[in-house]
């Protein structure tokens, strides 16, 4: 695996492909689901679109560790990101901007009544890496 910076994987945050988020409950049970969008906030933080999360939020409230799987829109390279949940934002600049993006995304998928931003979950990125492609010759 080779490390990358958040800046380097920004194209994977364009929202072309939904991201995957894995969390774990305190008893070690994993949970894995999709989320519509991951936003670059700064060099160390991302914002997650919280639309349907219930188990995910329950898990990070007790265990803030998360892992994201992202896909580059041009070449479909995968990126794995380890991060920690910091807080949820329900209003403000981030929320307003991201809510508008989610509305546009909903329109694209004709899911206006379904896609609705509940919160922006701010996470601190611990490491990011390119997932190895097939080692097979």
């Amino acid at each position: 695996m080779s490390s990358v910076t958040l800046k380097e994987l920004r194209p994977a945050l364009e929202g072309v492909f939904p991201a995957v988020i894995a969390t774990a409950s305190p008893d070690g049970t994993p949970n894995v689901t999709y989320l519509s969008k991951v936003w670059y906030l700064d060099d160390r933080h991302v914002g997650l679109s919280n639309q349907f999360f219930s188990k995910t939020i329950a898990n990070v409230a007790k265990n803030p560790k998360i892992q994201l799987l992202l896909m580059h829109p041009a070449d479909m390279r995968h990126f794995r990101v380890d991060a920690e949940y910091v807080r949820s934002e329900y209003a403000g600049e981030h929320f307003d901007r991201m809510s508008a993006e989610i509305d546009a995304l909903a329109s694209l998928f004709r899911m206006e009544r379904v896609f609705r931003l509940r919160a922006v979950d701010v996470c601190r990125v611990l490491r990011a890496e390119v997932v190895a492609s097939s080692a097979d010759g």
């Binding site: 072309v16 492909f17 939904p18 995957v20 988020i21 894995a22 969390t23 774990a24 305190p26 070690g28 049970t29 994993p30 949970n31 894995v32 689901t33 999709y34 639309q51 349907f52 219930s54 188990k55 265990n63 560790k65 998360i66 892992q67 799987l69 829109p73 041009a74 070449d75 479909m76 390279r77 995968h78 794995r80 380890d82 998928f109 899911m111 379904v114 896609f115 997932v131 190895a132 492609s133 097939s134 080692a135 097979d136 010759g137």
Partner: protein, 160 residues
Amino acid sequence: MSAWNRDLSERERELLRGPLAVQVAGASARLEPQVCRGWGAEFADGQLTVILLDAQTEVLRATLAATRTIAVNTTHPVTLASLQWKGDVVEIAEPDDAARAEATRRTEQFLDALRAAGIVRAPTPGVFHPGPARRVTLRVREVFDQTPGPGAGREVQGSP
């Protein structure tokens, strides 16, 4: 927790048969979640079997072998119809040609669906090209409907 086992509905069978994005997750002893892409998903007798590529899953496979606790998300890549399966790992098989062939078939099916929807561009050679692959089987304990919408996260009832 008791096992989850019943005949799948037509909608559930169709989801597993069709183009499928599969995500396989575990959690380390330090409660660090780990997730990798998997391929295919077959359900029979209360057990779900998916395929992992060796090249991308070494850490996750070690975790699954140690903890035996697993979650698998199966999602149609275009409609986003989605089920999450949780349970206990009963087998991590050795890599074999049948798993590799099935991973190849399911990869093409997945990419065809994305192409037909106008979503996909050319992937980097090797990103989706499956090398050695193996089947991982879990005994299902819980199933959740994760299709986007107000019902996302609803538990799907299995046997009493």
